[in-house]
């Protein structure tokens, strides 16, 4: 397969592989790479892709990738690159022989002064290029990536690059979308609105695309509806709190956001309901469920139930015949998540994805805390680290109908940053529910997350 070099944007490092693999599925691209080649501190990853056209397609909606080049030569010195470039078959350059061109030297982990860049570019003079140099609008750009960081200790950066790549530039990604959906420009916001970059990444990982049907059961102010519908999906939102959906009566609400981004033709609507007691007829409606479940820090999670602390109602109706608001009780995070997982196992289409955030206290988090399900395969678990606490993007995929239930080995698999690790779970610790839900017998560490969160910094870690 032809080789390419992906240059990542070096943001949200833990999410790079999850997004890359999802993009390959969405764009139907054959992608081959060794995950061991992706280094934390380096933006470069050499991949095999079936065609040049597909390599460009892979970046159509990429958020965590910056750009991609075709790989013609890789070496650990510039001299090596020059030598390899000299020996390239003539047909490599044939399509560009008369094109206007320029050279671009991209240095990662160090800087290279302009005169030094010019000096290096001049060393490529021998290439069979007859077109004129055009720095503004060249027909083709030849890129040299120089990586000072790979395998290096950031405090001890070498004075020469440790690896270099050379080849024609192919495409930039779609990171401009982060600006388009920037919260600062959005009309209607809440305290729980998800930032644009993560929201877009999540829609990518959920495989939201033309023709797919996406639900956010904790829709809040609707961030995921926007980004998923941007990528072509039809979306529906639900929330127990209708005030979030409707806004404050100043015509700023989820609907006005849909208008602002010109997505009313794909955002199908919203429903006020409680996921603990929901009204959906049991059918595999959705291709993806994408959400940020309420964990009680900024918005307290609630579900409908008789609240013993409230006075019993004399009537459920208001004088005008409408129902009064129901009583609610706190909805503990571990219950929210197991309800969500059971819901997803029933309502996703086969192969459909559940993508949600699990908040964790870093010191007590254990991979076995993540609830599992016999019909849901763990795809990824990517941490966004905030120091003492973190949130993890959990990605699961519903099995196809013909696939048998996951056995314990498959269920207990650990994945971190897209890389499968050793099983850390013990079946003796787990409880298997009737519907296939698999949870810890003991409380997971994120139970009562809110209490732990507010106790961080006060020495309490229990």
């Amino acid at each position: 397969m032809p080789k390419f070099v992906i240059c990542f944007a070096q943001a949200h490092l833990n999410f790079r592989l999850a997004e890359l693999r999802s993009l390959a599925i969405i764009e139907n691209v054959t992608l081959d790479f060794d995950q061991k080649d992706l280094l934390e501190q380096s933006p470069f990853l050499v991949v095999g892709i079936d065609t040049v056209e597909n390599a460009k397609k892979l970046l159509n909606r990429a958020i965590l990738i910056k750009e991609i080049i075709q790989l013609w030569a890789a070496d650990d010195t510039l001299e090596g690159i020059l030598l390899k470039a000299k020996n390239l078959p003539a047909e490599y350059f044939a399509p560009y022989r008369t094109s206007s061109f320029k050279f671009d030297i991209s240095v990662f982990g160090s800087t290279l002064a302009i005169p030094d860049q010019v000096e290096q570019i001049n060393r490529f003079k021998f290439l069979p290029l007859e077109g004129k140099i055009d720095l503004k609008k060249p027909e083709i750009v030849f890129t040299v990536y120089q990586d000072f960081y790979a395998n290096a200790n950031p405090k001890d950066i070498p004075d020469k690059p440790v690896r270099l790549f050379f080849g024609p530039f192919l495409a930039t990604s779609n990171r401009g979308l982060i600006q388009t959906y920037d919260l600062k420009k959005r009309d209607y916001l809440g305290t729980t609105s998800m930032d644009a970059e993560l929201s877009l990444i999540m829609s990518n990982i959920a495989l939201a695309r033309p023709g797919s049907f996406v639900l956010d059961p904790f829709v809040g102010t609707g961030s995921f509806l926007l980004t998923s519908s941007h990528f072509g999906a039809f979306t529906l939102g639900a929330d127990i709190d209708g005030r979030q959906i409707r806004g404050k009566g100043n015509n700023k609400n989820i609907e006005s956001n849909a208008v602002q981004y010109d997505l009313t033709n794909r955002i199908l609507g919203t429903v006020v309901c409680d996921i603990a007691h929901h009204p959906w007829r049991e059918t595999e409606f959705w291709d993806a469920i994408v959400c940020d479940p309420p964990y009680g820090v900024r918005a307290g999670a609630k579900k409908i139930a008789v609240n013993p602390k409230s006075l019993p109602k004399t009537s459920v109706l208001n004088p005008d015949g409408t129902y009064k608001l129901p009583q609610t009780i706190p909805y503990e995070l571990d219950d929210v998540l197991t309800d969500l997982l059971s819901f997803a196992a029933k309502y996703l289409t086969p192969g459909g994805r559940l993508v949600y955030w699990l908040p964790t206290v870093t010191e007590t988090y254990d991979p076995k805390d993540v609830p599992r399900h016999k019909r849901m395969r763990m795809i990824d678990n990517c941490e966004q680290d905030f120091g003492k606490w973190a949130r993890r993007l959990i990605v699961m995929e519903k099995l196809q109908q013909h696939e048998p239930d996951l056995d314990l080995d498959a269920l207990l698999v650990e994945i971190e940053k897209g890389i499968q690790g050793v099983n850390a779970l013990d079946e003796q610790d787990m409880r298997v529910g009737d519907d296939g839900l698999v949870t810890l017998i003991d409380n997971p560490a994120h139970a009562k997350f809110r209490n732990h969160y507010f106790n961080i910094g006060e020495g309490e870690t229990q």
């Binding site: 023709g211 049907f213 039809f234 959906w280 609240n307 459920v316 129902y323």
Partner: protein, 114 residues
Amino acid sequence: MLMCHVKGCSTDNFPLRIEDAEMEQVEVEFNEDFCRRLINKIDWPAFVQTAFALGLDQLPAALPDDLDEEFLQRIHKLALETKLKAGRMVCNGCKHVYLITDGIPNMLLQETEV
């Protein structure tokens, strides 16, 4: 897609009967594949009954074998482009009323119903 979910209410709880409907036509992108898959997900008799009760369309009682584009467009218009702006959805089983306001159905139950 929505049914009555009051605890113990399991007969005649779908489809919900729509009353005092105030409807609006919206524009939704047509996607043939999505529309085909949607038809397989909806409860056809319930869909036919609701479309008729709202005076929107008289659909065949049995889903045709051959779903041509014209038919798909018809379903697209009914299922995706016809929005209930206001009204009531009433459960034929237990009589619970779900209100729709500003195009948003309120499916919350009372605490005594869960």
